[in-house]
């Protein structure tokens, strides 16, 4: 636990200098940071749009924007948050940075492909942004691009679809890279069931990215073809079917919500053992439940379409299979709680982010069961209830863990420690703001307020105002957190190699890591990745 280790070998930060050494780097750590900066930027943009939408809803009628502007704003908020933030967030940032280190290797299997994925991401993002200034105005279809409206509207849907297509390729290539890395580059004695759980969750995620993303790629191209050449794939006048679009879209887009949440679950499975200083409860159950979720996720897409026109039998089957997903998810939650039970818990900001995640995700998951129930879904379909549920899982779930992971691995990535007091304050504000915003939305949705409206009836005013005020607290919390992290990256105290007393491989190398990660062979326990009996030895060698 000395600071001198960082100076023995140059860290990856100091290895080379200049813009080109970053944007053409093949180092997985630098690519991860490139993703981090881009994703954070887009997150702030998306957050601003969300903030403006809530502001519009502070009173019935038009307040700060017109109805058509509101439609464009929620479309862009969705596209940014889904395609540019949540899908790449954890795999591209923490997967890229930590996966090779956790497996005990010096880089991903295909470093050039990795850099190419980042470039595709940037090209896709640029194309998406161009729709704002270029052509006949930004899209107003919602992020789902439902046909036939996406075919008929004269807004700039074509370019946005192509952007999503390019971003899809970035996602596929990252997934492919992780699969090859996990199969080929594990440290010699690290068998499958000695891999850290984060690696397991990335493995499950990567298969979804690889198998599901091509479908949406094809689907989006079909819409582009339809718009450009009028083939009639989704047009009944020419023998097509608009419902076909929904099927194709959700065959991808349901599995992809597991791309968004599985890596987050993997990170929680890393943070909790370290915080409780004991091995994870039910390692195999957690590892295999990730695979089970990835598998089941392919067979539930119909629950997005209960009111779209499907046979009764199909709806009952989709509803039933949707319930099955709750089983592996509950296995994880129970195992996490069992891990904390009787552990010697150390209060850390990353632990608090993780437990907030479990709280939020329980609400997100249980409201998901309500939505998965066929009879209830027909009533709350297309209401603010669905929006609140989705934000509880994706924002309260994935993004909370993303922030938690920032607080867990920050000292490793930047070699400095953040201000813990500020981080607790920002977490408290974010947590309270988040729950006020979306709990109010959940209730008002249950009362019948539809989604995607810039206006509402007077009886919904109070709850909408509570939700808007909540969003202010939420934004303040997040900005405070970003301020704390950005400031600490430059001015924070120098961090030690193992500030949280973890035992996975990333805690056995200097903070920040040198270019090739490992200076000496890491210590691997025979008892699996979370064997805390080797902690003393690790800290001695650091």
């Amino acid at each position: 636990m000395t600071e001198t280790t960082t100076t023995i070998e140059k860290s990856f930060w100091h290895e080379k200098k200049g813009l080109f050494s970053w944007i053409f780097t093949l180092d997985h750590k630098r690519i991860a940071l490139l993703y981090l900066y881009a994703i954070t930027t887009f997150f702030v943009v998306g957050m601003t749009l969300g903030f403006l939408m809530r502001l519009e809803l502070i009173a019935p009628g038009q307040t700060i924007m017109e109805a058509t502007t509101y439609n464009k704003v929620f479309t862009f908020h969705g596209v940014i948050m889904i395609f540019l933030v949540i899908i790449p967030s954890i795999p591209a940032v923490f997967g890229n940075f930590m996966l090779p280190i956790m497996l005990g290797t010096d880089d991903v299997a295909l470093p050039r492909l990795n850099l190419f994925s980042w470039w595709l991401y940037i090209i896709g993002a640029t194309m998406a942004l161009l729709t704002l200034v270029y052509g006949p105005g930004s899209a107003d279809t919602g992020w789902t691009f439902y046909a036939p409206y996406s075919v008929n509207t004269d807004t700039n849907v074509t370019l946005l679809l192509l952007a999503a297509f390019v971003l899809g390729f970035s996602s596929i290539l990252t997934g492919l890279n992780f699969i090859v890395t996990i199969h080929r580059l594990r440290a010699p004695k690290m068998t499958w069931f000695k891999m850290p759980l984060f690696a397991w969750s990335l493995y499950a995620t990567a298969w979804i990215q690889l198998l599901a993303t091509p479908i949406v790629g094809i689907t989006l191209l079909m819409v582009v073809a339809e718009r450009t050449f009028g083939i009639g794939l989704f047009d009944p006048a020419l023998g097509g079917d608009p419902i076909l679009y929904q099927h194709l879209f959700w065959i991808y887009s349901h599995p992809v919500v597991y791309v968004m949440i599985l890596p987050a679950m993997g990170i929680v499975s890393e943070i909790l053992p370290t915080a409780a200083q004991r091995t994870i409860f039910g390692y195999k159950a957690i590892a295999l439940s990730s695979m089970a979720i990835a598998f089941l996720g392919y067979f539930v897409w119909g629950h997005h379409m209960f009111t779209s026109g499907m046979s009764g039998e199909a709806r009952v089957i989709f509803s039933f299979v949707t319930y099955l997903v709750a089983i592996p998810t509950a296995i994880k939650v129970f195992n996490w709680i069992a891990t904390l039970y009787k552990g010697s818990i150390h209060m850390t900001p990353n632990l608090m982010w993780s437990t907030s995640f479990i709280f939020n995700f329980m609400i997100g998951g249980l409201t998901g069961l309500i939505l998965g129930a066929l009879s209830v879904d027909v009533h709350v379909h297309d209401t603010a209830y669905v929006v609140a549920h989705f934000h509880y899982t994706m924002f309260g779930g994935t993004i909370f863990v993303f922030f938690g992971a920032m607080h867990y691995w920050f000292p490793k990535m930047f070699g400095r420690m953040y201000n813990k007091r500020l981080s607790y304050i920002s977490l408290t504000l974010t947590f309270i703001g988040f729950n006020v915003t979306y709990m109010a939305m959940l209730i008002v949705g249950g009362q019948g307020m539809p989604r995607r409206y810039y206006d509402y009836l007077p009886e919904f005013t109070v709850l909408n105002q509570i939700s808007t005020v909540g969003s202010w607290v939420l934004v303040i919390g997040i900005l405070l957190m970003i301020y704390n992290l950005v400031r600490s990256a430059r001015k924070g105290e120098i961090a030690t190699a193992n500030p949280w007393n973890g035992v996975t491989l990333e805690w056995q190398i200097p903070s920040p890591p040198p270019l090739h990660n490992f200076v000496k062979a890491p210590i691997l326990s025979d008892k699996g990745p979370y064997d805390f009996s080797i902690l003393e030895q690790i800290n001695k060698e650091n």
Partner: protein, 272 residues
Amino acid sequence: MKQTLLFKASFILVLFFLVANFSIAQNAIPQQSNEKLGIFEHLDTILSSDILITESTGQTYRLESLINKPTIINLVYYRCPGICPALLSGLSNVVKETDMVLGKDYDILTISFDPGETPFLAKKKRENYLRINKNQDVATGWRFFSGDTANVQRLLDEIGFQVKKSDRGGYIHAAGIIMVSPNRKVTRYLNGVYYSPFDFKLALIEASEGRSGPTINKVLDYCFSYDPQGKRYTFDILKVSGSLVLIMAVLLLFFMIRAERKRKKQLNKSDN
């Protein structure tokens, strides 16, 4: 060094390709198919006052004499085997659920777009909904009409409701209701066959104020008979590309596992 240069050059090439690609796609004007079908919103259009339609009683009215409060126009044909009964029952449900009063706060005009249909058919439909909605003033608030080709076509064109006669008899058409203000201005379209009481009330309030709003639910439900012949091509593309992706994934897994076994063997050998 040479390799890195090549690498950077290929990046720039890809970038160019992508830029060129989307600018081409952008410049191409979306071709409109000759046969339009669906609901093409004409918000803020004032419907002509002199369109003539005949009520189920057999009496003919000018449109202007029928609209004097927020009014819902719904276009169906009475012999429709598909989506029209669903639309009418969806409408009848929301009439029951909403706290707006039929006949007092708003009227409903159900109009057949099949010129071949008679007031007699309209009367039978009307009796049906009189029975179902006993608590509401259907007798005065919800009226059923038919019309001749010229008048019906004018109404369809003004509303933007395009239908197509099917080869197998009947019509291919979309489902939705149209809100009209007391001075016959089109203020909102509600698509589909299920209307939430919220949407419905808000749309009626807008109509009463003559204020129009864009459609929220942009998914159209269509009524058309299934045509597997026309769809085969689409399905084939999907089958082929789906199989390709799956085969490639299985191959990837196979080679990964094989390589791993080999490596293990080699490790064991070197250990010994």
